[in-house]
């Protein structure tokens, strides 16, 4: 009995400790997942805790289940719109990109570490997939808004390359252990089965989840349990049938997340909690499993592979895969750098151990070390890099004090409550749209349904469709002082999109050769970006940049012109900032 109680105490203690470390992480911007991993190490066999955990099977079980839930959740939070926008480049990265990365990482493995070809390739596949959990955490929780296309591409890629890496790993492991018939045709057949089965079961699972939630009148407390249970079941069943369970879980999440679900708000909160728990469980378990005393011998090899991966393999794969899709240089640099490796690589490192590949322990250890390096180096630099490359879109609104309440029986409406910020558009006299009339206002502790004009500090309750909530945020939240960032991102002056190239040329004496005179600015953008056009897109025209300032229903309604486009990016901006802070240092020079 006591051993069971002790086990519960230890597990719960680790979970609670992990939650506490998150306070640290948010304060220092440290990669939180690394802290979870570190906690596992600290509690483990060579750490303070001294827990001797070496049960590979249990670790793999916990890791797989956690990863399935994380992938389901990442699908759930990906909007179909951004999925469609990013699908082609992201899937190219997830397939071709994974192969290229694998091959390029295998080369030094073969020639510098003197592994056999299959071993070197196995090592390459372990490290080839970017990690959804780590990436989502960084991009979403990091408090920054990265430009849509770049963010979606990274997210969809990380969601869909895990299945590819897992498939390759399993294939190579069977090759190494010589278990199954593994001619090229069998491998191709299994690949098609894995992909097709994953897609089919994922769509089926997503449909099933939507049907169960919306048709059956479940107790609100049971709904999230049903959803999570079904997601895990889809994962398990797909794997049993030979399909890719991870792919299925991701697609089921994508479908369910984009449908109007009963009690969507409660579901989201429950899922956030479960996903946190899954991340903590996965990282702490993997940290616990590792044996750091074996690391020093492999440090050199791991450092070499991490360097090759970060500076050669990933950038080459990204440049190769993204160039046909018209990604700019800065965007490619960012995507190349943010190829974060995470738990998936470590988890895959367990597969050779489980299948009895000789000397499999070092694969696990190397994967572990490379992941730590990746989380440390890339995880810590994502934010500054994005800012450096000018890929961050300023939030339209500042922090918003908002609460959402589900309305039983209504999937397309929810009750939203805002505390009206003194600097919000509404508090400054902006009228409310017709569909956003408050139904109840709490002012000075009293409720009223006919409060008269709204005042700052009022708690305003209103009904809204979920897709209208961002608009409401803009009305009730603080309007940011963003003149400075705006000008950097959207230019100095606004221009009408239907003026012609000739008019622009005349106004500023620009050269602009090779552009037809009669082309309007809107047509120019269309010509360059086709369907992908989004807010903040830039065209370099000689000394100036044209920028999409505003859009309505996919049409450009305002074009910005940046007259001196170099300063807000990279070095120049850093210099300006330094000048502002230390005028005396620069005053004499300028």
């Amino acid at each position: 009995m006591d051993s069971i109680n002790l086990l519960i105490l230890v597990c719960a203690g680790l979970a609670v400790a992990a939650v506490f470390t998150s306070v640290l992480a948010f304060r220092f911007g440290a990669p939180l997942l690394l802290l979870f991993l570190g906690l596992g190490l600290a509690a483990g066999v060579d750490g303070l805790g001294g827990i001797d955990f070496s049960d590979t099977h249990t670790a793999f079980l916990i890791g797989s289940a956690a990863l399935a839930l994380i992938l389901f959740d990442s699908g759930y939070h990906t909007s179909l719109k951004s999925y469609r926008q990013a699908a082609a480049p992201a899937i190219t990265l997830a397939t071709l990109g994974v192969l290229v990365t694998t091959a390029l990482v295998a080369l030094p493995g073969r020639y510098l570490l003197h592994l056999s070809w299959s071993e070197a390739l196995l090592l390459g596949t372990l490290l080839s997939s970017t990690d959804a959990a780590a990436l989502f955490f960084l991009l979403r929780t990091g408090g920054i808004t990265i430009r849509d296309r770049v963010r979606s591409t990274l997210e969809v890629e990380s969601g869909s390359n895990d299945p590819m890496a897992i498939f390759l790993t399993l294939t190579l492991v069977t090759l190494l252990t010589g278990q199954q018939a593994s001619g090229p045709w069998q491998i191709l057949g299994r690949f098609i089965l894995a992909g097709g089965g994953g897609v089919g079961m994922g769509l089926l699972g997503g449909w099933l989840i939507i049907a169960v939630v919306n048709r059956l009148r479940l107790d609100p407390g049971l709904t999230p349990v049903a959803v999570m249970g079904l997601a895990a079941a889809v994962f398990g069943l797909t794997n049993l049938l030979g399909g890719s369970g991870f792919l299925a879980a991701y697609l089921a999440g994508l479908l369910a997340g984009n449908a109007k679900l009963q009690g969507g708000g409660g579901l989201r909160r429950f899922q956030d909690g479960i996903t946190w728990l899954a991340q903590i469980a996965m990282f702490v378990t993997l940290g616990l499993l590792a044996t750091p005393s074996q690391f020093p011998a492999l440090l050199g090899a791991a450092a070499l592979l991490a360097a090759v991966l970060t500076f050669v393999a990933r950038p080459l794969a990204v440049f190769l895969c993204l160039t046909p899709f018209g990604f700019g240089k800065r965007e490619r640099v960012f995507v190349a750098w943010v190829g974060l490796r995470g738990a998936v690589s470590i988890l895959l490192g367990l597969v050779p151990l489980l299948q009895g590949v000789p000397q499999a322990g070092r694969f696990f250890d190397i994967a572990f070390l490379v992941v730590v390096a990746s989380l440390l180096v890339q995880g810590w630099t994502v934010r500054p890099l994005a800012r450096w490359l000018g890929l961050i879109v300023p939030d339209k609104t500042g922090p918003v004090d908002r609460m959402e309440v589900d309305l039983p029986g209504l999937a397309d409406r929810e009750m939203v409550a805002y505390v009206l910020h003194p600097d919000s558009a509404v508090a400054q006299g902006r009228p409310l749209p017709r569909w956003a009339r408050p139904i109840l206002v709490r002012r000075a502790g009293r409720l009223s349904s006919t409060p008269g004009p709204l005042q700052a500090g009022d708690r305003v309750f209103l009904l809204a469709a979920p897709h209208q909530v961002p608009l409401l945020d803009g009305l009730f939240g603080r309007v940011r002082d963003q003149a400075e960032t705006e000008a950097g991102l959207y230019g100095d002056f606004a221009m009408t999109p239907d003026i012609t190239v000739a008019a622009l040329r005349d106004a500023y004496g620009l050269g602009l050769p090779a552009l037809p005179d009669a082309l309007t600015l809107a047509e120019l953008f269309r010509r360059e970006f086709r369907q992908d056009l989004e807010l903040g897109d830039r065209l370099h025209l000689g000394p100036v940049d044209l920028i999409v300032r505003d859009m309505t229903d996919g049409r450009i309604t305002s074009v910005g012109i940046a007259l001196d486009p170099s300063p807000p990016v990279g070095w120049e901006r850093l210099k300006l900032r330094l000048e502002a802070r230390f005028p005396r240092l620069f005053g004499a020079a300028s």
């Binding site: 002082d481 400075e484 000008a487 622009l504 106004a507 074009v559 007259l563 900032r577």
Partner: protein, 154 residues
Amino acid sequence: MEIIDLISPESVVPNLRATSKKQALQELARRAADLVGLPERTVFDVLLDRERLGTTGVGNGIAIPHGKLPDLNRLHGLFARLEKPINFDSIDEQPVDLIFLLLAPESAGADHLKALARVSRLLRDKAVCEKLRGTDSAEGLYALLTDNPATRAA
């Protein structure tokens, strides 16, 4: 390119009176025409032409009307602080009370762009604008506009 290269104490108007965008541009064109020695109508037309491409009201109460003139010898700036804010079709739909007018020779090319960027960056600084709004003498305004450019670079 610094502000001091663009304006002189004579080209600062501390209390311009106007009730509409058109009237403000007309008044500015008249004063600018005096400064550069060109017909008022020519200057006004150039400014109007530029407004047709999109408003030069850049938000936060600032407008930077500008244009190119063939017979100009160098870049000329004119700064005006309005007595009462006026509607200028600004991008943020807020009334305008600080106007920096910039005229460039036909051949100025890159210098024109640099000067505009410099003016735009200066007037993006909220603190500077607050000080300009609180100053009603031409000398004071001129001093503020041309003061210590390095600290204003960011």
